[in-house]
């Protein structure tokens, strides 16, 4: 498929789908009456049902499943010049994964310390940042959901949302300006005499972790807010009346109730942080270790898509496994998260 045809298809197909869908629903409305509590087929009519199934099915297949499968397949093949693809040297191999662990496609006597370290550091730091995010957001969410009056709530929401209108890259650069050697923070601290020499916030990765913590703060606040908001105030007062100190109430009444929201917020933030690219690229110092830029480099510096796929796949699987284990440990089902 030539690139022009591909481009046209990408632009036109969604529009076409929307148009067709709209036309069919308009027709359906005229023919059938009010949709009641019936089965999927009866509710939508045969034509629309078939269309929905096909559209959603094809879309999932084309845009989500196939590319992923393709990547998986890619990761088990060696990097070859285009001419040799599909040739006799294009066999299934574990060499890309071997490279991640041993730093070589053939040897296994030495570990690939740089990549391994970055990988585990990324997972560890993401866990830490998720926990930090939770610690910051829980009081905010609790305040918004149970304490603040409607007027104060609106102001708070606005204050939380407005910074996120600025896109991620700009926000990261703004932090770089603040944390730079001649940045706002250093200048300020030196002006009031707290420090005499500028601190290298970027080299020390302080900027990176701050940026990453800030990047997905909102994504933690809203699921928490939603969950805590539906808790009856009287339950908190009942616990207090029975003699519970405030921390006991949070630990045993509010948090268990908000568990699905906590799980949703934490898994989202963890996944997004572990997979963040812009913040590490912009805020990372010269010696910073974050796994996503390494994956990126596999694709675009080393031009080794096979290895890049393997790396991306490793990160994805580890994150999913980790999240599932944590959910299991806290006895939260996947269904509850979406509540």
């Amino acid at each position: 498929m030539s690139s022009t045809v591909g481009r046209i298809a990408i632009v036109l197909l969604p529009l076409l789908v929307i148009a067709v869908f709209w036309a069919m629903s308009a027709m359906e409305r005229r023919v059938a009456g009010h949709p009641g509590e019936r089965g999927f087929l009866q509710r939508n009519g045969a034509a629309i049902s078939l269309y929905l199934i096909l559209a959603v099915g094809i879309w999932t297949l084309l845009l989500i499943v196939l590319p992923q499968l393709y990547m998986v397949d890619f990761s088990f093949h060696p990097k070859l010049p285009p001419a040799q693809r599909g040739g006799e040297r294009d066999v299934y191999t574990l060499e890309n994964y071997r490279y991640f662990i041993y730093g070589s496609t053939v040897r296994t006597d030495q570990l690939n310390t740089v990549h391994l370290k970055a990988f585990f550091l990324t997972i560890g730091a993401s866990i830490f940042i998720t926990a930090l995010n939770f610690a910051i957001c829980y009081p905010i969410a609790y305040y918004m959901a149970q304490v603040a009056g409607p007027a104060r709530l609106r102001v708070l929401l606005l204050l939380l949302i407005v910074p996120y209108w600025i896109n991620e890259i700009l926000r990261a650069f703004a932090l770089r300006v603040i944390f730079g050697v001649n940045g706002l923070l250093n200048t300020g601290l030196m002006a009031i005499g707290v420090i005499s020499d500028p601190i290298d916030f970027i080299g020390q990765d302080i900027a990176l972790y701050t940026g990453l913590s800030y990047a997905y703060l909102l994504i933690m606040v809203f699921p928490l807010y939603n969950a805590i908001e539906s808790l009856d105030k009287n339950q908190i007062e009942a616990a207090r009346d029975l003699g519970a100190p405030w921390w006991h109430i949070h630990l045993n009444v509010v948090m268990p109730f908000a568990k699905p929201g906590i799980a949703a917020g934490c898994t989202l933030v963890f996944m997004l942080t572990a997979g963040a690219l812009a913040a590490p690229l912009i805020l990372g110092g010269p010696k910073s270790l974050w796994f996503t830029p390494i994956v990126y480099d596999r694709f675009y510096q080393a031009f080794n898509w096979n290895q890049g796929s393997a790396y991306a796949f490793i990160l994805l699987l580890t994150c999913i496994a980790f999240v599932l284990v944590v959910l299991k440990a806290f006895k939260v089902s996947l269904g509850e998260i979406t509540r």
């Binding site: 009287n234 009942a238 519970a244 100190p245």
Partner: protein
């Protein structure tokens, strides 16, 4: 230790709105005390002040003689049962009941024993493992009581706990509550807007209206000897006749009302010229004419036969509120027909003249 609850000139304001005005009363240890009043009169506000969720804007709350100012709800010897119960939905019945004990660090074994005792007290033995969502309304009610009793409060505060139940269950739970109170022997402070509930259960009742405590007394004295027009009209059925006092002597007063001169007892010492209301309860009226200032005549608007009594509704001075007369079965006299004019009489000894004031809305 005695746990008298004392309100000493308690005023509670929300901003510029005064929800409770200058409430003073003393509730004795072991008493079943009710606050009775229409919706919005400040009952919950008083209860929340006793339990410590609100501080009085003026005045003091004392429990067992100790001023409670600055002492939080978790430190007071009170336990509150909320209007909506507020059981913890994610905990089992036993965990709910044992929550207060867990907070106090009571070890598992002792806690289990105490929870079992309480389950027996509320007649739900063996129900500890149930989830709150599996319980009926009445059972939830009892679990809420057990949860509050578990921490051995000296005062149990109940905020209209029966209002969500259906009539039958409500009547059953009234007895149940009274029984539990007698068994545990602690002070119960009970809130209701249902006068029947207050009259049947309480040792004493405080009748409230618009943030003011109008009268405190046992059920009989509140019914028989109301001190204000509001109490007379709120507790039990009553027929008000408004007018001006034209004579007052020998403990009686006569008012000039739109239906003529009427006489009643003058306990509150109204004097000639005062605006006043004369109250006659439906069961005080009898059919037939009588004394000049103890009878009136009017048109029968409606006749309602209710088995042991028949209610007659006569056109009264207020077109929206007919005069209600109950005629017991076997009273001898024949019941007048709808649309006819009839005379009714009453013994002025049983009618009350009170200073004019706001009446309870129906």
């Amino acid at each position: 230790m005695s746990a008298d609850v004392e309100l000493d000139r308690v005023t509670i304001r929300f901003g510029s709105f005064t929800a409770v005005r200058n409430a003073t009363l003393k509730i004795n240890n072991g008493e079943f005390f009710s606050f009775l009043g229409p919706s919005g009169c400040g009952k919950t506000t008083i209860l929340r002040t006793i339990s410590g969720f609100l501080e009085p804007s003026e005045g003091a709350v004392r429990i067992g003689g100790r001023d409670m100012r600055g002492i939080g709800p978790n430190k007071r010897p009170t336990a509150l049962i909320f209007q909506n119960l507020a059981l913890f939905p994610l905990m089992s019945v036993a965990e709910n009941i044992g929550y207060g004990l867990r907070v106090r660090g009571v070890p598992g074994e002792a806690r289990r024993r105490r929870v079992d005792e309480l389950l027996n007290l509320i007649a739900m033995p063996g129900a500890g493992d149930k989830l709150v969502s599996e319980l009926s309304g009445g059972m939830r009610q009892r679990v809420a009581i057990a949860r509050a009793l578990a921490v051995e409060p000296q005062v149990l505060l109940l905020d209209e706990p029966l209002s969500a139940l259906d009539l039958k269950l409500r009547q059953h739970m009234r007895n149940e509550l009274r029984n539990i109170q007698q068994r545990v022997g602690i002070t119960f402070i009970y809130i209701t807007h249902d006068q029947g509930e207050a009259l049947t259960m309480s040792d004493r009742i405080a009748v409230m209206n618009a943030g003011v405590i109008e009268q405190v007394g046992d059920g009989r004295s509140i019914y028989d000897r109301p001190e204000t027009a509001f109490v007379a009209s709120f507790v039990g059925e009553n027929n008000p006749f408004e007018g001006r006092v034209v004579a007052a002597e020998n403990g009686h007063a006569v008012i000039e009302s739109p239906v003529g001169r009427l006489r009643g007892r003058n306990r509150r010492a109204v004097s000639i010229g005062d605006p006043a209301v004369l109250f006659v309860r439906p069961e005080i009226f009898a059919l037939g004419s009588g004394h000049e200032d103890g009878s009136l005549e009017s048109e029968v608007l409606n006749v309602a036969f209710e088995g042991n009594t028949t209610h007659l509704f006569l056109r009264g001075p207020d077109p929206k509120k007919p005069i209600m007369v109950s005629v017991p079965r076997g009273a001898g006299s024949s019941i007048p027909e709808q649309g006819s004019r009839t005379a009714i009489r009453f013994d002025p000894e049983d009618a009350l003249v009170l200073p004019a004031g706001s009446l309870a809305r129906e």
